[in-house]
Symmetry: C2
Subunit: 327 residues, 2 copies
């Protein structure tokens, strides 16, 4: 069965030991500009200049959330950071710090942890400069699991909640719509071997087209820009535009009518596909949309619709029938 | 094989669904006094009155960290909270908020999650009143995993690091020494069936003596008290007094000499046993020790010793040879 390359037998987590593994990982992790006390004590101490902080947590689990045959360790670190950073951005905040707990099989190569650390570092540098890793935990588990908690700073602004949209508000998005789902569809179709198992070589050959799924790059700084431009509501698109826009609409007591002409070449995938981690926001009708937001709809009295016709969302659970043992 | 009682087939996580499960769990979780925006949006917003916060994360994994035949769901939530709260306390801070990510098998009973939530609630109420759960994440995994991130407030004080102990400082502890290890030894000896598998009924019959291992109650408020009393260094005892005191000593550039007469009835277990989550602190020679700290040794020039004789610590990894499939 395709899997990770086998490590040298003497370079696994259990052979190297927790202390030495941490010694190899910590230097790879980015420091946070907000850090007063960093890794190495019982806890970190982080600045909160305006007397508040934003906090969110999200776990990625081998099996339900990713395939080791498709995602590189770097991808896993990158995506774990990106998906949490976007939740901070969706509050209108700037990400400042991460803490990261990882559980991995004892026979994992240390390079798995090093790759995850590099992915965390590169995602912070690219998407949220100044944000870094201030603490963490390393455990042994039969199931590779990455739990990230992200923290952010509102810089004196009020948080942008899901509940502030009003009828007539412009609905806008920053980032991709449906690209992560399209890339996953491609992987399920073309990156499996004849027996249906995920294949790392086939996935590698598709790499130029699978980035939106394996290492999404949501526009994190757009969250702050939306808040400054007066966004009335905002959230992170993790389960697809249809489901997540329904959450924003329900919290706000409004509906949303999307314009299919503004949803790209494949409006159906734009509506149904999850994991883009783009930002969906609403703005007053007369607001100038900050870059890179683009208008895709309008707040109406009730319901989720496309071109005025009610849209019935389906759940986003692409790996549901795949077991972790399949790669 | 002994395991959790089988749930009604229609009351598992996969049958009930994530939204409905969260709807049953959230009302059980304690609100945090520090919470400005709680669960239900992309992230929480928490007060940080002194412009800083303390943050730590720790993961509990079925297999390496607990047996489902021995720990109740309530125990798991309690211990996940207690072990993280003690890391906040060890900085001299008061715990204010938790975020909790849980991954559980799809066929787990919803009562597993409800019990964990109740344990989180009861531990916060007993150990750190005012601290609550401000956010979380629920995932499916083959391996039950609980990742808690705890946050705390320094209330204007400087954090108490591991590195501030000086030669001549009094070494003191607040909380149990070796009781968690003694309770685990009892479970390994008397709570396994003839085939060596952990047995829930036998564990239940020992309950009056296993609390220190399954649901430890470290003196969380003692962390703040130590800081106010001028503690020069402090840390949480998770891997045993010998190993953890070595960490404090190395960080401070000192040694510690323990007095065996002050280590209780079983000094060897007090030195070697992990998971008490008690607080080890050092104080200036003339400081009045705040309750419930008691003197157990003194900072010397180098090394870890008992009654002046060098002590060689052994690692704390009691479940090392036990697979998660054993219960």
């Amino acid at each position: 069965m395709p899997s990770l390359p086998q490590p040298p037998i003497n370079d696994t987590l259990e052979a190297v030991g927790e202390g030495a593994v941490l010694g190899r990982i910590f230097p790879r992790l980015p420091a946070a500009a907000s850090e007063l006390v960093g890794p190495g004590d019982d806890a970190a101490v982080v600045t909160a200049p305006d007397g508040r902080y934003v906090v969110t947590t999200d776990m990625m689990v081998h099996g339900p959330d990713f395939r080791l045959a498709w995602s590189t360790p770097h991808d896993l670190g990158w995506k774990a950071a990106a998906s949490n950073l976007s939740d901070i951005a969706a509050m209108g905040a700037s990400p400042t710090a991460l803490v990261v707990a990882i559980a991995a099989p004892a026979d994992s190569p240390v390079s798995l942890l090093e790759g995850i650390a590099d992915g965390l570092r590169d995602a912070c540098a690219a998407l949220a400069p100044g944000c870094g890793v201030v603490g963490g935990d390393l455990s042994v588990s039969g199931t590779l699991t990455i739990a990230v908690t992200a923290l952010g700073d509102l810089e004196g602004r009020e948080p942008v909640l899901r509940s502030g949209a009003r009828i007539g508000d412009v609905v806008a998005v920053a980032g991709a719509l449906g690209e992560a789902a399209a890339a996953l569809r491609l992987l399920f179709r073309d990156a499996v071997d004849a027996a249906g198992h995920p294949d790392p070589r086939l996935a590698e050959s598709l790499r130029s087209r699978t980035g939106p799924q394996l290492a999404p790059a949501p526009p994190i700084s757009a969250g702050r820009a939306a808040a400054l431009a007066g966004a009335t509501a905002m959230l992170d698109l993790s389960d697809g535009l249809a489901i997540d826009s329904g959450r924003l609409a329900r919290a706000s007591g409004v509906g949303i009518d999307f314009d299919s002409m503004l949803l790209g070449d494949d409006p159906a995938t734009a509506m149904a596909g999850g994991e883009d981690h783009s930002l969906l926001a609403t703005f007053p009708p007369d607001a100038a949309l900050p870059a890179p937001f683009r208008r895709i709809g309008v707040c109406v009295a009730s319901g989720i619709a496309v071109d005025g016709e009610a849209y019935d969302p389906v759940g986003w659970d692409p790996y549901r029938d795949w077991s972790g043992s399949a790669g």
